[in-house]
């Protein structure tokens, strides 16, 4: 905000300075839509800062420019657009002059169409009577946008003309104007067959506009007429929606259209049902479901789901057994909203061998609501089919059902490899901070086994809900420090991601006293540390080690950390560190690397 205000102030100053030298209104007449627009900016600034109090003054000055014969097209365009904001009745006459010329008619409408007041309507209506071609069509559009009540009578005459474009524009305008007169014209007019679809659509739109202004009864009559006698499918669908929106006894209409042999109409009815809250609609959808085509069934399944009315569940269950894969797939997804404990077993079966639909079934199992769903899924953990056990366990994990975690921890100790593997897979990212002691115990127990790294991963992810300064997080690394080497070996790689003093101490302690394998892993963890907290430890290691490879890797780690934009060390500290590293390097290229980094820090780049 401060920046914006500062820049605004500078701009204001600059613009004010410019204004003192140049009158924007004097420059405006020569504006040619090229790159120079300073005058335009200044004029906009004037009415933006002055507000309505200066609108009259801005308008007068713009009209004065407009009256100059040398005013360019671009200048006139800008003036008309600005008058559309600041204009008043005073601009009517100048705008009418522009309106009379095909080259400038559209720009004149930018003011005449927008500005409020009966005098503008009157001026446009008068202009309409003496205009032709594109100018006339433009005026029709403007009057339609203004919902001019007098337009319908004029348009009636145009509908009898032989001018194709004029007839089409008139029909569209009547649709926008709405009102009793527009509806009357559209109802009574006789047009060639080629115009019927547009006339019908205009009639429906006009009826909607009529209904919106409170004339429901008249609008309904139009909807009924079009619905019964219409020939254009989009118009019939529109009329149907009008009947639903404004009619009284709408359910028989809905039922009839749902059963219509035209798939488009039936689908339109299903879509409409999705926004109707009447509970009776659910029953209608249920009743028609067996008799409609699969494409409509699919939509009905979705409509029932959108309604979230459990009365629809039996139909969804039927759909779940459909031979049509689309219907079946939609049913699976629908159960996220409508399913309960009764569908758990079916979904589990589908998740195991549902082919392309397995993933959807597994996803839905994680979302099905109801008090007994978790119990039923938990029972499935005893199913003889290991695939079903997996499906249930994964669903319970996604449902965050923590009560199964103790059971999963026991499964980690199973003698069966499959069971162990599944438990480890499910616990990964599921076990939380409360399970860390038990996981460390498991790690100790199975230290060195092929599962150690996986259990270590679970421990690391179990810290996901606790912050680094949390006591439990600090205690974790303290506990790990007391574990045997194989446990440390498994956990160490996570010290880097964990960050913090506790985890770093484990690493440095291991470097100081661990076995060769432990030391090597710890060194690599230290060298990949993500922040500058490791700088001192790495420097100490470089000074103490005789391992040439560690020296090179350590130096590279320091250079990386010190070059990082997030490094919090001051340049002086960075240089001091690097100057201590420099004499430790033996290869010329390594010395050069350190030297370059020092220079870079010094230069501040």
């Amino acid at each position: 905000m401060k920046n914006i205000m500062l820049i605004l102030s500078i701009c204001c100053f600059a613009l004010t300075a410019l204004r003192s030298e140049n009158d924007p209104y004097a420059e405006l007449s020569a504006y040619d839509a090229g790159p120079q627009t300073i005058a335009l900016s200044l004029i906009e600034k004037e009415f933006r800062e002055g507000g309505p109090a200066v609108y009259e003054q801005v308008e007068a000055r713009l009209l004065a420019v407009l009256s100059k014969p040398e005013s360019t097209y671009a200048c006139k365009k800008f003036i008309c657009e600005t008058l559309g904001i600041v204009g008043s009745k005073a601009c009517i006459e100048p705008m009418l002059k522009l309106l009379a010329d095909e080259k400038t008619a559209d720009m004149a409408r930018t003011a005449l169409e927008r500005l409020p007041g009966k005098s503008f309507d009157k001026a446009l209506l008068n202009a309409l009577k003496s205009s032709s071609d594109r100018i006339r069509i433009g005026i029709i559009q403007s009057l339609a946008t203004r919902h001019n009540a007098g337009l319908a009578g004029v348009l009636k005459g145009y509908l009898g003309s032989g001018d194709l474009e004029l007839i089409q524009s008139s029909l569209q305008a009547l649709a926008r104007v709405g009102g009793t007169d527009a509806v009357k014209v559209l109802t009574s007019v006789r047009l060639a067959d080629e115009f019927q679809p547009l006339r019908e659509r205009a009639l429906v739109d006009a009826a909607f506009n009529l209904a919106r202004t409170g004339s429901n009864r008249k609008a309904l009559k139009m909807f009924e007429q079009e619905y019964k006698n219409g020939t254009s499918l989009p118009a019939i669908i529109g009329a149907f929606n009008g009947l639903i929106d404004y009619g009284k006894d709408t359910l028989p209409v809905l039922t009839g259209v749902l059963k219509n042999e035209h798939k488009a109409l039936a689908l339109a009815a299903v879509k409409t049902s999705m926004r109707l809250s009447d509970p009776a609609v659910t029953k209608i959808l249920i009743d028609v479901f067996p008799s409609v085509k699969p494409a409509v069934q699919l939509a009905i399944v979705r409509a029932l789901a959108e309604r979230e009315d459990v009365a629809g569940l039996p139909v969804i269950k039927i759909a779940l057994t459909s031979q049509d894969e689309g219907v079946k797939g939609e049913a699976i997804v629908a159960l996220e909203k409508l399913g309960d404990v009764s569908v758990v077993n079916d979904l589990a079966t589908l998740a195991v061998d549902g082919g392309n639909l397995s993933a959807a079934a597994q996803q839905t199992l994680s979302r099905v609501r109801g008090p007994d769903v978790n119990d039923t899924l938990t029972k499935l953990l005893d199913d003889p089919d290991p695939k079903k056990v997996r499906v249930a366990a994964m669903a319970l994990k996604l449902r965050d059902e923590n009560s199964i975690i103790p059971r999963l921890l026991k499964m980690v100790e199973s003698e069966k490899a499959d069971t162990r593997s599944l438990a480890i897979e499910v616990l990964d990212g599921f076990a939380g901070e409360n399970e860390i002691p038990e996981l460390i115990r498991l790690l100790n127990k199975g230290a060195g086994s092929s599962d150690s790294d996986k259990v270590a991963s679970i421990i690391w992810k179990a810290t996901r809900m606790i912050d680094k300064d949390d006591d439990r997080f600090i205690k974790l690394w303290s506990d790990v420090g007391n574990c045997p080497e194989p446990v440390k070996l498994a956990i160490l790689p996570y010290a880097n991601s964990a960050g913090g003093a506790g985890s770093r101490k484990i690493v440095t302690d291991t470097i100081a006293s661990g076995s060769d394998a432990m030391r090597d892993r710890a060194v690599r963890v230290l060298f990949s540390w993500q922040n500058d907290q490791a700088v001192k430890s790495i420097l100490d290691l470089l000074k103490s080690t005789s391992n040439a490879r560690y020296k090179i890797l350590g130096m590279q780690a320091l250079v990386r950390i010190l070059n990082d934009r997030k490094c919090t060390l001051q340049p002086k500290q960075k240089i001091e560190t690097l100057e201590q590293v420099l004499p430790l390097m033996e290869r010329p290229e390594d010395k050069q690397n350190v030297h370059n980094t020092i220079e870079k820090v010094k230069s501040g780049k």
């Binding site: 790159p35 019908e200 739109d205 909607f208 939509a299 979302r367």
Partner: protein, 434 residues
Amino acid sequence: MNNKIKKISRRNFIKSAAVLGATAVCPSILPSSVFGADSQVSPSNKITIGCIGVGGHGLGVNFNAFLHQPDVQIVAVCDVDRGRAENAQSKAHSHYKNKDCASYTDFREVLARKDIDAVMVSTPDHWHVPISLMAIRAGKDVICEKPTLTIEEGRVLSDTVKRHGAVFQTSTEDRSVPQYHRMAELVRNGRIGRLQTIRVTLPIWGGTPLEMQKPAPVPPDFDYEMWLGPAPYAPYAPGRCHFHFRWIRDYSAGMLADWGTHMIDTSQWANNTEFSGPEQIEGKGIFPTEGIYNAAKEFHLEYTYANGVKLLVDSGGTSLRFEGTDGWVSNASWRAPVEASSKKILNSVIRPEEIHLYTCPGGEHRNFLDCVKSRRNPYFPAEIGHRLCTLLHAGNIALLLGRKLRWDPVKEEFLKDVTANQMRSRPMRAPWTL
């Protein structure tokens, strides 16, 4: 038809296809797949799509996304830039290993084809709603790039979608991007307590060199008149068309509408105001002082909702942050990882009985196709898109008028401000109309 660019003048088109109605309304023509007998379902039981606008994003993202969907056949491509249309056609032929994709420079010919179920509209903003309306009135489902050009356009579009029972998707990916979906779900489920403040940053646009903004001859094979369409006439300049249109108010609404439709959509989603909007808008903007671009270049906007939540929008970045009574969630830039005030918030699980917001991991195009089949509203339907764009347009009106505005989300009008209400719509060049 295949391999030939179809080009007709507006007048010739109207003469030769009167049945389509004015400016390409073609109510008597419907895609074959929607009629009764299944034997008339379009070839290979696929959803047939016409891509209108196959320039940068239209080709690189939208065309490509549909090209690789198994249940789609792109049967038509259209662009006022003939070279672009031909390029897209060539890619379709290469992908499908046939010659069945037709190429056009006039979108009305795409809409007139009864074998096309749906259209993807990837044109400049001033064409989004007019083309979408014509397509819906022709019985097609529509996925259209964002944003609308005016508040009035959005209202007409949303009403038309509802009346015609069409499926309409506002084409942005955010609701399928895990980070934005996650943030919105965390907020909606109260993980940060009661939402108080939303902070959004949007990029600052750079424009083009002044040389590109000077009037120049229209390039061959570029139908500039059709490119302008309903927008006011202005001489052609390279810096006016293709990507750069968005910095000119005649065709677009600047960065606020361009990127605002991303981050601010998530704001509305998380605030559960996607079907309403703020009640107060105020802000300051910096407008260009030279060149043909006139949309606000930098701005600070403050929106206030009925529930007391403040939405603060600033130029400079692509970040999003929600602050509540019990913490915050945020991300630092476009698609950056979600951050939170605590790990507990960051890693909390949304359980089955909680609010699960509508998403589609497959993206906006996949979501649209699924909805074409199920008739469900896509995750970013016309009404939500309209409400979002209303917020953005109101912001631009406040910047241009330089004053605080009060908005009634029910009546969809500014309170006690005649001028602001005038600016809810814009006249269209004849004969184009809504």
